[in-house]
Amino acid sequence: MNGLERHTIAVLVDNEPGILARVVGLFSGRGYNIESLTVAEVDRRNSLSRITIVTSGTRMIIEQIKAQLQRLVPVHKVLDLTDEGPFVEREMMLIKVEGKGDVRIEALRLADIFRARVVDSTIESFVFELTGSAEKLNAFIALMEPLGLVEISRTGAVAISRGTTSL
């Protein structure tokens, strides 16, 4: 009952000024965790944005988070993907690795295994683009570290339910 659970929550909101501040303020004001948060408009015609929040807390806190989100006036729908059956979760990362000689070759070889794409290269550096679960991204980072990792930029997770159900 008191164990921490990690949940991915999708929130459909009016794309209006201040909505992100409202959601973020709710989390900071009430002391909830945010592991990651992504947002972008998904319905231009109705001016709706989708926020994907990865959070963790006890079952009671997770229920609170959903109820509190639902209470925000510009929020249309709140869906707990973790609870609502199978879903796909993906994150994108750009990662810069610096190095020469063998190190470069090793980095390229590992990138290939992870299906990371090279999106920029100089004689001394690569920028890889990698998409996948957070664990996959973390594993890749761990491998790049000894090879000259210098910079990481991650999007945070986006997620969607499997099958025909929709938000």
């Binding site: 201040g18 501040a21 303020g25 229920e63 209470r71 006036v73």
Partner: protein
């Protein structure tokens, strides 16, 4: 849509009138001058000029809570808006429907640190139910109508509309309230029938049920309170109320156990601890009510009826949540079981309750050796105001708790106090709002001498509108509640809690054109109250009370309901736990 475009300021007035607003509490300034100009040219709206914007919000709260309607506030940008923040937070905590219009610098200056600019929507985001920044006059009427809808539907609360000055001058179309419905905000009002039926079954099956009603009942309205009263009586169950719920159930009814919580009655708290079924109705398991959570009502199943799903399972796990308007739920319960309660035998439970009642937990030293006990003052005030249509507001402190304990309410909407936020300075402006809404009624602010000074400037508003409000000050020369905690928790080191250099309240009354009187002897009590009631116009009655009196019973912070302190003797014997010390 009306054909002719009109100015933003005129749209504001028209929208307010169409929303049925008859009075606005406000204070002018540069950014809202166009609205004040529009106000000047019309007669449908009355403007009450307060003396501080915090007072405007509390006055609107008093108006709202005594009428069940939305209270409206109008303030200028920058300091006008920031001064309103305490009132807005108060309204949010106590779920009071308020629409607050704030001026703003013109749109092209927003973000430039312009004169009297404040990020009002940023500052008020966490202390409003919702807020708007109107950047285009074409959105203005829709946003105002939406604001009213949001403020009063679901769990009510304050809504801010920030109005840049250029928008007030711009010409735009006006749309009527019917054309403006919020896109998506639809709180659940109608309860799930199956759950209602289950609740009725649980109540019938319970041996030791207890109803625990809160401010949600008052917000839902007189009919909800009547439904609640009927449910309690039919099921022959005892009933307690929170500070915010007082008046939702007639205090004179034998089913009523008094207020619950930190300064609630012994019988209410013991019943909460020992019941086997707790039915929370429009109450939110606030920490002042529950005491130590892990010892809260340990043996009970819990039903929670509330319009706000986020209040359910927040502090206390419940077995049966019912989301909906409490009035609708009460009606559904009565319909589900027209004769629930017939043949119920609760005599065993009532026998326990009578034993707790026999403790007579509100007793105090009535011998009155020349000093006025604060409890006595309120008892006499209560007795001598029977036969009046009396509304009571309070400030915050011991006097507030004594008022809650000793003034009995039989009807909703007659008791206004700052519960969630505990805002000293609430009572006088709230009384102004109540008196404006009910010009013929008797309105009394039961005050402390420290609190009353927090918004004393509102005496000038009282004078301007010739409001006959009565300030009943229990003057113990201390921030009594602070002094009580220092006695209990800090070895009697009364750090900064003595209210030195108090004004002469009689002269102060006179300075504002009101009547003042001070009494120090219990023998004068009745005469002074009668004089206060007879005297037309505003009155300050400065009642010198026992400076050392403490408010009992008390559940100290971090303690459970069955660990109440009943009087000074318990206080000496039961030191507060270390965990309790850190709690507020």
């Amino acid at each position: 849509m009306s054909a002719e475009p009109i100015s933003g300021a005129d749209i504001v007035i028209k929208a307010l009138v169409d929303q049925g607003v008859d009075v606005v509490f406000g204070y002018p300034g540069g950014a809202v001058l166009p609205i004040y100009d529009a106000l000047f040219k019309q007669n449908a709206l009355r403007h009450i000029l307060v003396r501080h914007e915090q007072g405007a919000v509390h006055a609107a709260e008093g108006y709202a809570r005594s009428t069940g309607r939305v209270g409206v506030v109008l303030v200028t940008s920058g300091p006008g808006a920031t001064n309103a923040v305490t009132g807005l937070t108060d309204a949010l905590m106590d779920s009071v429907p308020i629409v607050c219009l704030t001026g703003q610098v013109p749109t092209h200056l927003i973000g430039n640190d312009a004169f009297q600019e404040a990020d009002t929507t940023g500052i008020t985001r966490p202390c409003t139910k919702h807020n708007y920044l109107v950047k285009d006059v074409r959105d203005l009427s829709r946003m105002i109508h939406e604001a009213f809808y949001v403020a009063k539907s679901g769990r009510p609360g304050p809504v801010v509309i920030d109005l840049p000055k250029d928008v007030l001058f711009a010409l735009g179309p006006y749309s009527h309230p019917e054309d403006a419905r919020h896109k998506s905000y639809r709180p659940q009002v109608i309860p799930d029938q199956a759950r209602v039926a289950q609740a009725v079954e649980m109540i019938t099956a319970a041996k030791k049920p207890l109803f625990y009603g809160g401010g949600g009942l008052i917000n839902s309205g007189a009919e909800a309170c009547a439904g609640f009263t009927e449910v309690v009586r039919r099921t022959d169950a005892p009933c307690t109320l929170t500070l915010m719920g007082l008046g939702a159930f007639p205090a004179a009814d034998p089913h009523f156990l008094g207020m619950v919580g930190m300064h609630g009655t012994y019988e209410a708290n013991m019943a909460m601890h020992d019941c086997d079924l707790l039915i929370a109705v429009g109450a939110r398991f606030d920490d002042r009510v529950t005491g130590r959570l892990n010892a809260f009502s340990p043996g009970s199943k819990k039903i929670h009826i509330d319009i706000d799903p986020s209040s359910i399972n927040k502090n206390v796990r419940v077995d049966l949540p019912i989301v909906g308007d409490v009035g609708q739920v009460m009606a559904a319960m009565l319909e589900t079981s027209p004769r629930a309660g017939a043949g119920l035998d609760r005599s065993e439970w009532w026998r326990h309750i009578e034993e707790w009642r026999a403790q007579d937990c509100l007793r105090y030293d009535r011998s009155c050796r020349g000093v006025i006990k604060p409890q006595y003052a309120i008892e006499r005030l209560y007795a001598l105001t029977r036969g009046h249509d009396v509304y009571v507001t309070t400030e915050v402190g011991q006097h507030q708790m004594w008022a809650a304990q000793f003034f009995k309410f039989d009807k909703p909407h007659h008791w206004m106090t700052s519960g969630g936020l505990g805002t000293m300075g609430y009572g006088l402006p709230a009384a102004i709002g109540v008196q404006i809404a009910h010009p013929e009624a008797l309105v009394v602010d039961i005050a402390g001498e420290a609190s009353i000074l927090m918004n004393i400037q509102e005496m000038s508003t009282v004078a301007q509108y010739r409001l006959p409000v009565k300030l009943f000050i229990l003057n113990n020369q201390y921030m009594g509640m602070v002094r009580q905690w220092q006695e209990l928790l800090h070895g009697g080191r009364y750090s900064e809690s003595y209210t030195a250099a108090l004004p002469d309240f009689v002269k102060l009354a006179e300075a504002f054109g009101a009547n003042g009187r001070r009494i120090e002897n219990p023998a004068e009590m009745d005469d002074a109250i009668s004089w206060m009631l007879k005297t037309p116009g505003a009155v300050i009655l400065d009642v010198a009370v026992d400076p050392k009196e403490n408010c009992f019973p008390m559940i100290p912070s971090g303690a459970a309901h069955n660990e109440m302190l009943l009087g000074p003797k318990d206080e000496a014997e039961q030191p507060v736990s270390e965990e309790g010390m850190v709690l507020v």
